[in-house]
């Protein structure tokens, strides 16, 4: 008995640390794929498609040459909207942080818009701006900008007034005050907003592609759905899911990187 225990110990220890650490992850992924495969094979093909079929269909879509350009099309939309949201949201949030009266005045309205399902504005955007690229960017922007503003303002609230008073009593210039106090204190919070904004911008991207002019991945998946191409629907959802997870990881990494400043 002791021998078998010893054996087991040596066996686990002989496995590299990184592999031991990642083993549950891979076991869970393989099991999930097996369940998916089994479920797909035991139901009608119109209802669900096994993993193998999904990958096969994805490969077909890629080889047909339409999928990658559509994916890039979606990416352009996402990054344009997201970049504008960041470029507008972070400075605006910090401005609110600096000018107290403005912050107090604007705060409740930002809260209200943040709590409102902004998808409801899409029909208005459609009828005002039509089918171009700009309305879709606006949708992504609207989805992404409020978490950035909201969290930046939260960060600004966490700045101790003494810090600003000390800086002022040492006659620091407005620029130095921003660089030395405002920015370092609000940035980690802004990055929390960035993480949340990534997820919301993805929703905005898909919503824009579904309900405004149909382009990108949204068009691929809508087309597949209308043709009852369940495998195509699964393939697109699979890709979007992977993109979502990857973006979430990037968001968390960015947030953690900046969180080191936050006490």
């Amino acid at each position: 008995m002791t021998a078998s225990v010893r054996n087991r110990l040596t066996w686990t220890e002989s496995v590299p640390r990184s592999l031991r650490h990642h083993a549950p992850f891979w076991i869970s992924i393989v099991a999930g794929i097996a369940v998916w495969e089994a479920a797909g094979r035991s139901t009608s093909a119109a209802f669900m498609v096994p993993f193998s079929e999904t990958i096969h269909r994805l490969w077909q879509l890629i080889v047909a040459g339409d999928f990658i350009p559509q994916l890039l099309d979606s990416a352009v939309l996402f990054f344009t909207g997201f970049a504008i949201a960041l470029l507008v949201g972070a400075p605006f949030g910090m401005l609110l942080a600096r000018i107290r009266a403005l912050r107090i005045g604007v705060e409740p309205y930002i809260m209200i818009i943040y709590a409102t399902p902004l998808v409801a504005l899409i029909p208005f955007i459609l009828s005002l701006m039509g089918f171009g690229f700009a309305p879709k960017v606006l949708v992504v922007f609207l989805f992404a900008v409020f978490p950035v503003i909201y969290n930046t303002v939260e960060g600004a609230r966490s700045i101790k007034p003494e810090l600003i008073e000390v800086a002022r009593s040492f006659r620091s210039s407005e620029w130095a005050l921003w660089r030395e106090v405002m920015l370092p204190y609000t940035l980690p919070f802004t990055m929390t907003g960035v993480r949340q904004a990534i997820g919301r911008a993805l929703v905005g991207m898909v919503a824009a592609e579904f309900f405004l002019s149909s382009t990108g991945l949204g068009q691929v998946i809508m087309g597949a759905s209308q043709n009852f191409d369940t495998a195509g629907v699964f393939a697109s959802i699979f890709v979007i899911g992977l993109v979502g997870v990857a973006f979430m990881r990037v968001g968390l990494a960015i947030e953690r990187h900046f969180a080191r400043w936050r006490n």
Binding site: I27, F47, M111, T116, A120, P123, G199, V203, F210, V233
Partner: protein, 276 residues
């Protein structure tokens, strides 16, 4: 000298006493009111000056309110959406809490499905609409399914966090009194995860509203989302915007309700928003 200073210090004290309310009105209420007025006026005049006549602006939206509120179509749409959101949220709450507790208290279960929960949570929820419409058809079942899918993962993730963070001592005491697993779960883990549950529920409610509206857009079934879509397509922007205002009121209402109940029932607990 002393006689003359006494009344002065008294008036200072009385001024200070009446200060907080006046101070609050001056520093908080007034800026908010003025900002609100500025936003409404800017919207009104920008639309008047630059946009076609059918575009919603505060004055015309306000005039549309009495007409819309008594409109049976609007009432029916509101009822349909609200009932669907309530049903979906209830199902998501029960299922999500159960799964969240399992993940939080069982390492094996956690390892088995955490990546899937996180993966689905990171997925833009509305991407499942084409699939759900294939599965459930163009019916209210698709809307309910979308709402559940939109809402459940934020509940699971938050409840699991809460169940994980139960102090070890509580469990040890319960175990030494030979409590069985079920009563530990319902008597200790669930109550101490409550603030997390509420935080998850707040996020879930917002996501459920989005899910409902998006499903109604997508499959064109009766509800507030469809009401907005239909009216804006037929250039009744003011009527449609009343629907948006109502959705905003629901969103804010949920938010306030959850914040209030956290403060009311769990005054010891303050927690920042978990995940977006």
């Amino acid at each position: 000298m002393t006689e003359s200073t006494a009344p002065v210090s008294l008036t200072v004290a009385s001024v200070r006493k009446s200060d907080p309310l006046a101070e609050r009105v001056r520093t908080t209420f007034m800026p908010r009111l003025l900002t609100g007025i500025a936003i409404v006026l800017a919207w009104e005049f920008v639309v008047r000056g630059l946009a076609p006549a059918y575009v919603a602006k505060p004055s015309t939206v306000l005039m549309a309110v009495p007409k819309v509120v008594v409109d049976p179509a609007f009432q029916k749409a509101t009822g349909a959406t609200l009932i669907a959101v309530a049903e979906g949220l209830a199902i998501a709450l029960v299922l999500g809490t159960a799964i969240g507790l399992l993940i939080g208290r069982s390492a094996a279960f956690d390892r088995a499905i955490r990546h899937y929960v996180n993966g689905f949570y990171a997925m833009p929820m509305i991407i499942v609409l084409p699939l759900f419409s294939l599965w459930f058809g163009y019916s209210s079942a698709t809307r309910i399914a979308t709402i559940i899918f939109a809402a459940i993962f934020s509940i699971i993730v938050n409840v699991a966090d809460g169940a994980r963070s139960v102090p070890k001592e509580y469990m040890e005491v319960a175990r030494s009194f030979r409590a069985d697993r079920l009563s530990m779960l319902t008597g200790i883990v669930l109550p101490s995860s409550m603030p997390y549950l509420l935080a998850g529920f707040r996020l879930a409610a917002g996501r459920a509203l989005i899910g409902a509206v998006v499903a109604e857009f997508f499959i064109s079934i009766g509800g507030l989302g469809y009401y907005i879509l239909y009216n804006s397509r037929s250039y009744h922007h003011n009527e449609a915007f009343v629907g948006v205002l109502l959705l905003a009121a629901f969103g804010v209402g949920f938010e306030l309700l959850v914040n209030w109940s956290t403060r009311r029932f769990m005054p010891w607990y303050r927690r920042d928003e978990k995940a977006g």
